[in-house]
């Protein structure tokens, strides 16, 4: 509990930081506001408008206004709650700078006081994000047809209240040990499945269910439900637990998160996305006694090595495997999706597959990092990288096929199975291409002067995101084409595989020279 002395100390601390040398001037603040207004006017408003219009298109709107759409809302809200719990140990709700953790959170002042400002900032951002997302979807409903006004307002207010619940769950995930939070997250995920299946108990007894019930009353024919709005409005009372959760935070864990996110911020600012994602990969803490054998021909020995090391990251591998199964299933659904939804499904499927394949690529990354004139390994770069590509390739083919076969059992055409094989090969080759990229050419940082300013950042973004762009444009686009012209799509993708393989080979040889 904070005392008047504590408050006095904190006020003086702010005075010291406010009187420091090199403080931003008033003109710096005006410039920041100017840039923010420009970004909102030029980027945010058109993007939000196009999303609202896209959602209001007949194909998508029919899903949004479907009578059972509230179940989906409940399930999505529950999944978000589980994610908030799980993400806490990777990036908590309260992550101030390492300096403030060292000297302010490390002082004798209560952490519920010293971490209040970072918490309030995160809670505000979360509330803004929640009201923006709900505003976009409700806006699309208004554009698309008759929608009850009072429930729409209640949804917006309810989403703000729900963001408070998410914030406390997020803080729980940061403060409480994993043996507590993981079972709780599994229970919440179970309730998400139950909500999707229409279980009334979830709707009546959970904040995500109350949000879903508010969604159901958007239909003008449905009665306005006040009690879910009331219970949801009361749910931020869980914030009463926040001081205890904050005072339970351990400084070494706070510091580890703060240092990691500071370096990620620096890497992102310099455009090093690969470095930033590398900082997110935590080192292994288990499985040191697993015996990894290196027997047989080199590709088999390396496959054993990669499988053995993958076992040391059970959580990451589990989520990556599930994601590949879902990616295969999604890819097979492209055929049956209508209108603009086929693009959404196809792009989501290949994006998920590309990201999930990454969890199997540790060996591939290590092989690439050691390519060079004074290579660590006694075999050619092409041999090493090719051997390390076996595991991600097998994972994509086998795990993705499980999802694809499930889709075939659900009525999808059998042709999606060989199509997924081609997509898998393509995605793994793009992974190799991306790993073998080497450092960014310095020339890309040279200013490109245009009437709207320096646009060299576009070059940097394109270079950083080239693998994603290739996957989305080629595998995603051709997956849409496959639903109407299968053989042509297969020919094009085979050609794409050849081109990416040639490019990857050239990059590897260049690195090894």
């Amino acid at each position: 509990m904070s005392t008047s002395t504590d408050r006095q100390i904190l006020a003086h601390v702010r005075l010291v930081t406010a009187s420091r040398a090199g403080l931003p001037t008033a003109s710096d603040a005006v410039y920041t506001v100017y840039v923010a207004v420009l970004i909102v006017a030029i980027v945010a408003v058109p993007v939000v408008r196009s999303i609202v219009l896209g959602l209001a298109s007949p194909e998508i709107l029919s899903t949004i206004v479907a009578p059972d759409s509230y179940r989906g809302v409940g399930a999505i809200a529950a999944v978000l709650a589980a994610c908030a719990l799980l993400i806490g140990r990777t990036r908590g709700l309260a992550v101030p700078s390492p300096f403030l953790i060292e000297f302010l959170a490390g002082s004798h002042l209560a952490r519920s006081d010293t971490l209040r400002r970072p918490i309030l900032f995160s809670v505000t951002v979360l509330a803004l994000a929640a009201v923006t997302v709900s505003g976009i979807v409700v806006g699309a409903r208004f554009l698309g047809g008759p929608t009850a006004a009072i429930p729409a307002a209640l949804i917006l207010l309810g989403s703000i209240a729900y963001s408070g619940v998410l914030a406390v769950l997020w803080l729980m995930g940061q403060s409480c040990p994993r043996p507590t939070t993981i079972p709780l997250a599994i229970v919440i995920l179970g309730s998400a499945v139950a909500a999707a299946a229409g279980a009334d108990i979830v709707m009546l007894a959970s904040p995500w269910g109350w949000l879903a019930l508010l969604w159901a009353s958007l239909d003008p024919a449905a009665p306005v439900l006040w009690w879910p709005a009331l219970t949801l409005a009361l749910s931020p009372l869980v914030f009463l637990a926040a001081p205890a959760l904050l005072n339970n935070l351990r400084s070494p864990e706070l510091m580890a998160q703060a240092r990691r996110w500071q370096s990620i911020g620096t890497l992102v600012q310099t455009g090093d996305i690969a470095g930033a994602s590398g900082a997110l990969r935590t080192p292994p803490a288990r499985g040191r006694r697993y015996r990894i054998s290196f027997t047989g021909p080199l590709p088999i020995a390396i496959l054993q090595r990669d499988i053995g090391t993958a076992r040391r990251f059970p959580v990451r591998i589990t989520f990556g495997s599930l994601a590949l199964v879902v990616a295969g299933w999604l890819n097979a659904q492209t055929d049956s999706a209508q209108g603009g939804l086929d693009w959404v499904v196809a792009l989501a499927g290949v994006l998920l597959a590309y990201l999930a394949a990454g969890v199997w690529c540790d060996g591939l990354r290590n092989a690439n990092e050691n390519v060079g004139p004074s290579s660590l390994y006694g075999r050619s770069a092409l041999t090493m990288i090719g051997s390390h590509a076996l595991l991600p390739g097998l994972a994509c083919l086998l795990l993705g096929s499980i999802g694809t076969i499930a889709a075939v059992a659900g009525g999808a055409a059998i042709g999606v199975l060989p199509w997924w094989m081609l997509v898998s090969v393509f995605i793994v080759l793009v992974r190799i291409l991306d790993c073998a990229k080497g450092p960014m050419p310095i020339g890309l940082l040279l200013p490109i002067v245009t009437p709207v300013g320096d646009v060299s950042i576009l070059n940097v973004i394109a270079w950083q995101a080239d693998a994603l762009i290739i996957v989305l444009a080629t595998a995603g686009g051709l997956s849409v084409l496959f639903s109407t012209a299968g053989p042509e799509a297969a020919v094009w993708l085979t050609a794409g595989i050849g081109i990416v393989a040639a490019l990857a080979g050239r990059r590897i040889r260049a690195l090894g020279a």
């Binding site: 420091r20 040398a21 000297f103 002082s107 002042l109 070494p252």
Partner: protein, 213 residues
Amino acid sequence: MGFVSSLEARDVSASIDSEVLLAPVSFTVSSGEALAVQGRNGSGKTTLLRILSGQLRPTGGQAFIDGESVDERRRAVRRTISARIGLPAFARELTAHEHLRFIATTWGRLGSAATDAADATMVALAISHLRNRFVNELSSGQTQLLSLATALVRPFDVLILDEPEQRLDATRRALVSSVIRAEIDRGATVVIASHSADMVEAIADRSVSLAES
């Protein structure tokens, strides 16, 4: 300032799975006394200091301050122990003097009292001439002295330092030794891990040698 009577390690050990980071060790250090922790690289000196400062939970045994378990989540523990284990997270936008003034303020030395504490600490460590430098403008030895100053500028009963001699020349090592010795004479309990024979000789009343783990 009321000094604690003892800092105690009772069969403290640390391991991850079956990998031993610190073999069991026991000792008690009283107020006005200094203990040097010695041992080869990897013997667990830093791990022991982390446990004594409450930043790491031991997997065996326990550490106590005046009979209470050490856990840095408790405000009273943070108030009692000043630990400098590795370089702190400096703020690139603060000068050396502003760092110390900021830290003194967080410990309740408000206004001119914070300035006085910062000044006194800089004078003691002979770094007053660095007051307006940013951290990136300091040499490695000067950075080490500022790091030690961050631990000394705040009130404490127990001072825990990991290799305070790092990057310091012989003159600075002697200076730091005399500053720490003055704190011990004032009644502080001090635990240092050190590879420097001259610093151990100048500071410690006794030492404990850790077995290689």
